[in-house]
Symmetry: C2
Subunit: 267 residues, 2 copies
């Protein structure tokens, strides 16, 4: 999906919501467990219920890998089920030496046909470049993450800036706002004005609203640009809003609530 | 596998060789491609041929994921085929917020029953801890990698030390030499004396000998400790030594050559 197409979807739906399919099989409603593929059935119903309120789905690969081959099958079926109008993200946090990163790019951009993948920056340029070589695909590099561990390395000083700032500045030179985004956690609200100054044009994928406690209004105020420029991910607070047969209706209600709030913030 | 058992295997075989199963389906001998599972058949023959000369096998998950569900099946069969005398490493370079890292730990320690997994440190403590919670399992954290991109962030100064040194010092406080190793690339030979001073007791997993050009003698001189303390990984130079029907014989010859050289260096 191109940047232009993504922005069109944002304006069409008046939403910059990304629904995170962190489908933990131990947390889905019990009545699904007797079906042949409970994880896919859960995702299918969540997607059907929320698609009008979001512009993107993010699949957290860990929750699928922990189910082995069956999980990989559920991931493949899920990404194929997501409508082509929605921006699909493999939240995989991959990254390795060049010839290995090429294999990950193949896995997520060719075999699974995601629009985007999240990538860890630690190993530097040749670990990120293979993802950027794909046309109309996106690389979403970890900048400043939402978890407490962000303080261990990301927020440490290096020269005149912090490690994550160096990552933003350096990595932004390897791609463009047309094929590169950054993960910036919503729990880091104090940093958003600074981050938007460093990178005025890039989209940010923002997890940490919802269960992790980040504020949608605060982030939207500080981080939006003229093209919207943010995708807010909400996972557990939407997909596990209900725990029984009506889980999809509950998910829809919460997604709609986020969309309504977002529609007021979009310029 | 415990540290004691690993050290016993090293002394028994007079080897600290890890064979890297970076099984690229486009590079395996053509006669295997008509079999139901060419990747597993290739790995099986390589394992049978090299097991007497190495103490460990490292599966690079990218080369399996790029084959989709079939690749995940080949990985599962391969890890189950490796003898229990050998230390098995999932070279997966995972790492995410706590509840997600727990799912990766489950995938590689429970579903796939690897002894160890490689983990990226960028996201800090809560992204690494879930792996360390497993008994008799190992977390191998990226320290200083073998690729050119190591200079982008790992070798940058932060306060009085480089980023990778900060990673080594900080992460070593989260586990012990009984459940924690570090990846240190063989192409970084100049740094090994310094690194061994920082971490006298830990094992290092050392890729980059072979196709990437690191020197086995140089690394062994600088990095070994009284318990050996290093696992040298060689992937392509062993598994793709031959390109025809006799690939396993060729792999065996190269593995045996590394083992002979190592037997002279072991204290």
């Amino acid at each position: 999906m191109t940047r232009k197409a993504l922005i069109e979807q944002i304006h069409l739906k008046k939403s910059y919501l990304c629904v995170g399919l962190d489908t933990d099989i131990t947390k889905i409603p019990k009545h699904l467990l007797s079906l042949p593929d409970p994880v896919f059935e859960f995702n299918k119903q969540v997607i059907d219920a929320t698609r009008d309120y979001c512009v993107s789905y993010k699949i957290n690969t860990a929750f699928y890998e922990s189910q082995g081959i069956k999980g990989w099958e559920a991931m493949e079926k899920t990404v194929n089920y997501i409508p082509p109008t929605h921006f699909t993200i493999a939240d995989a946090k991959r990254g390795d030496i060049g010839n290995t990163s090429s294999q990950y790019a193949k896995a997520f951009f060719e075999v699974l046909n995601f629009d985007a993948i999240t990538v860890a920056p630690y190993m530097g340029e040749d670990s990120v470049r293979p993802f950027l070589e794909y046309q109309n695909k996106w690389t979403i590099v970890l900048g400043l993450t939402s978890n407490p561990g962000a303080r261990d390395f990301e927020l440490q000083q290096t020269g005149t800036e912090r490690v994550y700032e160096k990552v933003l500045r350096t990595v932004s030179g390897w791609g463009s706002p047309e094929n590169l985004m950054f993960v910036i956690g919503a729990t880091q609200a104090d940093e958003f004005t600074n981050i938007r100054n460093i990178l005025p044009h890039h989209f940010f994928l923002v997890p940490g609203v919802g269960s992790q406690g980040g504020s949608l209004k605060d982030i939207s105020d500080k981080a939006m640009n003229n093209d919207c420029g943010i995708l807010i991910n909400v996972s557990r607070a939407i997909i596990f809003a209900g725990k029984k047969e009506d889980f999809a209706t509950e998910a829809k209600a919460i997604a709609a609530q986020y969309q309504r709030e977002m529609s007021a913030y979009i310029k």
